[in-house]
């Protein structure tokens, strides 16, 4: 389990505990226990609730911090078995223009190819702009590849039908972008689908 997955697990566990104590309280009330006992239970439940709330707040803060470090992404392939694909990390690489060559924005689920884990994705867009900040608000055609599992097929854009990538924000070394149109095909040739996706990418 990586860092962000650990935090998500903690959130789920604390939510579960909170609900369990509330349920115990209802059960006691229904079975007619003494007021003192009920009061004690309610007091304990309140303490637990506060504790849980604090834990959730803490965990959510942790997740936010974690997101700042690794980013995240969520893509959907409508009407397909792959459904939603989420990656626990997302990185943006911006290469400004050199000579005749234009700028390029990459979004990817891994820091380096040799550390690729699945699900995995890669977005490659030729862009106009000297910096990331200049890209905000632009919608550009992009090549996109999504591989939900290591041994399954890959979803990809054909060169003739690139997805449309909108760069919505760049702040605190974090790029936010989304897919606003385009289709993906699957390498086994079985289907194509409309693609959607949201990316919160950090600079590696």
């Amino acid at each position: 389990m990586n860092g962000s997955e650990t935090l998500l697990f903690e959130i789920l566990m604390t939510t579960y505990l909170c609900r369990s104590f509330a349920l115990i309280g209802l059960v006691i009330a229904a079975t007619g226990c003494s007021d003192k006992v009920v009061e004690q239970v309610q007091q304990t439940a309140t303490q637990v609730k506060e504790s849980v709330t604090n834990s959730v707040d803490s965990a959510q803060t942790g997740v936010k911090e974690q997101l700042k470090m690794v980013g995240s992404s969520e893509m959907t392939m409508d009407g397909t078995a792959a459904g939603a694909v989420k990656t626990p990390s997302c990185y943006a690489v911006f290469t400004p223009a050199t000579g005749e060559r234009g700028s390029v924005l990459l979004l990817q689920s891994y820091r380096a190819a040799e550390k690729e884990a699945f699900p995995s994705f890669y977005v490659h867009a030729l862009v106009t702009g000297a910096s990331l900040a200049e890209l905000v608000g632009q919608t550009v055609p992009a090549q996109m590849f999504v591989k939900p599992t290591a041994d399954g097929p890959t979803w990809y854009t054909t060169p003739a039908a690139a997805v449309q990538l909108k760069i919505t924000a760049f702040e605190n070394q974090q790029v936010t972008a989304e897919i606003v149109g385009g289709t993906l095909a699957r390498t086994d040739g079985s289907t194509t689908t409309n693609a959607t996706g949201k990316f919160v990418a950090v600079l590696p």
């Binding site: 290469t95 000579g99 990459l106 060169p159």
Partner: protein, 613 residues
């Protein structure tokens, strides 16, 4: 070339002394091609330039003539008209099958696989002629005719006995060629009729010629073997490339580039990148010559008592050693250039090296990439600006290419499920099983050893229908280049394939790849990987291709490589020699070429499904 002329003259003289052309009426060569599914009766090509073409022509004509005659007899027998078979015509067909055997034996002596096929044909045709003789003998109404033929055989044999003293004199003078010619003339004349005789009668009429026949055969066998070995030695000496000189040339060029940006070679002043292209071409030419040399060693071994011979083993070792040294020598050349060049000139020099190095690496099937990349890195390191640009370019293209390679492979894998591996399907079509003839043993299920055990025609007629039209996958296809649209799947386990590259259909796909790699006419790729991607895509090289088999061609294994043209250098990756088959039946060994009509192609970085025709 001038130096080789006396050798050729000598070879011709030597071989002529040994009676290679004793056979018959030599007429203008007819157009010959290897046997195929469409022309199974065609002859296997020959590799020798001296005598082999003439012998092949003679053998082919005899085989064709006999086939026509035998088909006619077959038709008569099937129509219950055996009595209409002309006895002299049948006897002549039998004699022609014996002549075909002699031509086949001489081709074998010259190291020609075609001789093996004609040997099988001669056996098949003489057996067929004997069968028709038996058929006639079994027909009571033919008894008179058969009796006449036997009488005629005795008469001719008696008449020809007068020539025996003359033949003995020729033997005493050791004029073996004339003696053999005279002997065959006599025996053939008798045999036309003697085929109708009983076995004991035949022994009796041929007995007077037996001693002379043995003496002549023994003497000529010895002489021809020696002459064949001498001819092979001469051909090998004339074919063998000067590998040491090639290595020395690269070293000299590397030394020059330490001090200057050009080096003189072949009367031209060449830059480092031009030198890499020059040595790439020179290496390909040397490798073709090395392969031809190896194939001649295979053929030569059939005239010796061992396989492999010492010279064969030594040649392979010499070439392997050379190939292991030549890549590093070229790396040293680029490194020398990199050490000399200024930071300001490094970018242009790097850009000029990329296409030359990319092509060289592709000719080696990628094997030289790890050897030569460090030299390019040294050149890049000379300029901080170039270092930054290359690093940035690789950051935005290396991984893109990785993903493109991945999806191209996955797309091909998905569609290939409906296609057969070329090796498996070819083995299944041409394996020997039960009474079925074939090129391959039933086990193992591989095509690595293919040999003739019957006539090529019979095997092709049996196996071709099982393979033609089948959907197969061929791999490692290299564009022949030039004006040709052909791609050749590299030789592997006795198989190679030819296909038509759909370069026109791929234009848009290749353009899209170039756009993604940010390549324009004025802005070429900036890494070796991307340069190889673009140049390979433009050439039309394929990782694999699927399609229906549209043709099958059979070739002698020795002949395929002994006649390898320079233009077909890509058949074997640069730095390698074809696998040896270390047995004594080199001439029986064959290779298969499949023609494939593509329905999909996988380049390294793109996949394309062709529209149905």
């Amino acid at each position: 070339m001038n130096a080789s002329l006396p050798q050729v003259t000598f070879m011709r003289t030597t071989l002529q002394r040994c009676g290679w052309l004793l056979l018959l009426v030599v007429s203008a060569s007819s157009a010959l091609a290897n046997p195929s599914d469409k022309q199974p009766q065609a002859a296997l090509d020959v590799h020798g330039q001296q005598f082999s073409p003439e012998l092949l022509d003679v053998a082919q004509k005899l085989a064709d003539k006999n086939r026509t005659a035998l088909e006619k007899f077959d038709g008569l027998v099937k129509a219950n008209k055996a009595l209409k078979i002309d006895g002299v015509e049948l006897g002549t067909a039998y004699v022609n099958s014996l002549r075909l055997r002699r031509a086949a034996d001489q081709l074998i002596m010259l190291g020609e696989p075609a001789g093996v096929d004609f040997g099988f044909r001669a056996g098949e045709q003489s057996q067929a002629a004997q069968r028709y003789v038996l058929t006639l003998k079994a027909v009571p109404q033919a008894a008179q005719g058969v009796g006449l033929m036997r009488s005629k055989a005795s008469q001719v044999a008696q008449l020809r006995q007068k020539q025996l003293p003359k033949l003995q004199k020729l033997i005493e003078r050791q004029d073996w060629d004339t003696a053999e010619r005279e002997l065959h003339e006599v025996l053939d004349e008798i045999e036309v009729f003697a085929i109708f005789m009983q076995a004991d009668e035949r022994v009796s009429i041929f007995a007077p010629w037996q001693d002379a026949s043995r003496a002549i055969a023994l003497a000529l066998e010895t002489n021809r073997k020696a002459a064949a070995l001498k001819a092979f030695d001469d051909r090998i000496a004339a074919t063998k490339p000067d590998l040491a000189k090639l290595l020395a040339d690269v070293s000299a060029a590397a030394s020059s580039l330490k001090k200057a940006d050009k080096h003189a070679i072949a009367d031209k002043m060449l830059t480092g990148p031009e030198l890499v292209a020059h040595f790439d071409a020179a290496w390909q030419k040397a490798q073709v010559a090395a392969i031809k040399t190896l194939a001649l060693e295979w053929a030569r071994s059939t005239r010796t008592d061992t396989a492999p011979t010492a010279s064969w083993t030594q040649w392979r070792a010499d070439y392997d050693k050379f190939a292991a040294s030549f890549g590093p020598a070229l790396k040293a050349l680029i490194s020398a250039d990199a050490a000399r060049v200024s930071a300001a000139d490094a970018p242009a020099l790097y850009q000029a090296y990329l296409p030359a190095v990319a092509d060289l690496v592709d000719h080696s099937a990628g094997a030289l990439a790890s050897t030569l990349q460090p030299a390019l890195d040294e050149l890049v390191a000379k300029s901080p600006e170039l270092t930054a640009n290359v690093k940035a370019y690789r950051a935005i293209t290396d991984d893109l290419l990785r993903w493109r390679e991945r999806i191209a492979a996955e797309q091909a894998q998905a569609i290939a499920k409906d296609f057969h591996a070329a090796e498996a399907k070819t083995h299944a079509a041409f394996q020997r099983s039960g009474d079925s003839t074939g090129f391959f043993e039933a086990e193992p299920m591989k095509t690595a050893k293919a040999r003739l055990t019957e006539t090529a025609a019979k095997t092709l007629l049996t196996g071709s229908p099982k393979l033609v039209g089948q959907k197969i996958v061929i791999a490692d296809v290299c564009a022949l280049g030039g004006a040709s649209q052909a791609g050749i799947a590299r030789f592997h386990d006795r198989l190679y394939a030819r296909t038509t590259l759909p370069t026109a259909a791929l234009t848009e796909e290749v353009a899209a790849l170039e756009t993604q790699l940010m390549v324009t006419p004025v802005q070429p790729p900036l890494s070796l990987l991307a340069t190889r991607a673009v140049r390979g895509a433009r050439r039309g090289d394929l990782v694999q291709c699927g399609g229906a088999v549209s043709g099958i061609f059979l070739e002698g294994h020795v002949t395929r490589f002994a006649t390898l043209p320079d233009a077909a250098a890509t058949l074997v990756a640069l730095g390698q020699l074809p696998a040896d088959y270390v047995e004594r039946d080199q001439l029986e060994q064959v290779a298969l070429r499949l023609d494939v009509q593509p329905s999909w192609v996988q380049q390294r970085y793109l996949f394309f499904k062709l529209p149905a025709p």
